[in-house]
Symmetry: C2
Subunit: 227 residues, 2 copies
DNA sequence: GATTTAAATGATTGATCAAAATAAGGAAGC
DNA sequence: GCTTCCTTATTTTGATCAATCATTTAAATC
């Protein structure tokens, strides 16, 4: 997992918060205050504020001027935008990664995929989500484009708070419907079949974000009815 | 509007630095120190450090731990990566923008293009570069995808320090060779011809960054010879 | 040229300021 | 009498600053 223990406090905060957000530990609409977080992490407010500033500047968190940071409540249109962007950028990264694929990378992907199956079978959602992230970024890292990885990372942080919506129904239906698509990615990397790898990524992003969008829409309708 | 300047100092610093970087006012390899900049801007080091942190986290500036920020010296491979990413993302944005095009947007683009011609004819490089930026982001803004705009903005900041290399030779040869391509973009937006608009953007990015890359390579060879 | 010392510089802290959210109180209206 | 709304005071909280600490660069000395 990508958690380099940097000496610099603000980066530590950024990494830890990022892991929490990616893991779906924050709910949309949740408020994050500098002082509370600083107290929890036993440090002064400054590094915490700097980490939050970075997340806000990336659009991961939302922050009005002189106000707390909040996890954004995304509308279906914003989910659609994220889907659109992720489809283009991640399929691109997946293609490039596949073209530079090696047996070693394919093995690493298979190993991660196996661990993921184990965690999923055990119902360990935390590990599950972490390994989903690990698998995909092991793939993307193969394209050796750090600027691109950074962009994708930021996009994943934006979808992070909504990942919980996928469990358990969507996840179950997917493993029933699409079979072992991570294995197909691994073998695609082995064979350097860029189109096949990109197509698997495309399906994953498309289906997952479509599902999330429908849940959000349904919830909005329900709230409207309630009043 | 009374004060278009953001109330928050760190954002002011970020905006000002960003404008300077985009305008090519910083040279690759140039060092930026917090205290100097803070003194120049008459403020304490804190907001300056936060703005620099943001630029570093975006990959616009380079910063080792506990070291000053420097404008990165890009190798040809890194320019190639930037070109690759920009080609994919900006062509995507251009297509979407064209699909949502209106006569008003086309008019605005034409107006900016005319101003650009005037500045270029007058040899006003500063205005020239600013208007090149304005034109392209007026186009991209039409797609109404704020997350995408943010990504492209960060990519432009990375190429900013190398824009000066395009003047005056490349700029002259382009206006001779490709004619009024910005007018073709404007009319493409009018006709909602996504493919045509994307193709013009593709050519622009491809040619400009290929040129920059060749200049860097040539300069590196020269330095090597000198020893 | 290597080692030690001094200066420069970034990171972190705690204090202070300002703005916003919240709580409290009271007046007006039903 | 009760509620509602507005005003005011208190508290919370973010931004900024200045001081301190730690590290790195440079300067100086041997």
């Amino acid at each position: 997992m990508i958690t380099p223990t940097t000496a610099v406090l603000r980066d530590q905060v950024y990494d830890r918060l990022g892991a929490l957000i990616r893991g779906g530990h924050f709910s949309p609409g949740e408020k994050i205050t500098i002082r509370d977080l600083a107290k929890n992490l036993s440090m002064s407010p400054t590094p915490v504020r700097e980490a939050l500033y970075r997340l806000i500047s990336e659009g991961v968190l939302q922050g009005e001027v002189n106000r707390s940071a909040v996890v954004p409540l995304l509308m279906p249109e914003q989910i659609a935008e994220l889907k659109d962007i992720r489809l283009h950028i991640e399929c691109f990264a997946a293609e490039r990664a596949a073209l530079k694929g090696t047996p070693e990378i394919a093995d690493a992907l298979r190993k991660t995929s196996e661990k993921l199956k184990t965690a999923r079978a055990a119902g360990d959602r935390r590990t599950d989500i972490a390994l989903v992230y690990k698998f995909q970024f092991e793939l993307y890292a193969a394209c050796s484009m750090p600027d691109l990885i950074r962009i994708i990372n930021s996009l994943w942080l934006k979808t992070g708070p909504y990942l919980n919506l996928l469990y358990p129904h969507y996840i179950a239906s997917i493993s029933a419907g699409r079979g072992d698509w991570r294995e197909r990615i691994a073998s695609g990397v082995e064979k350097r079949d860029a189109a096949a790898v990109a197509e698997e990524i495309r399906l994953d992003i498309d289906q997952a974000l479509t599902y999330i969008s429908s849940i959000i829409t349904a919830a909005a309708l329900l709230n409207q009815t309630r009043g």
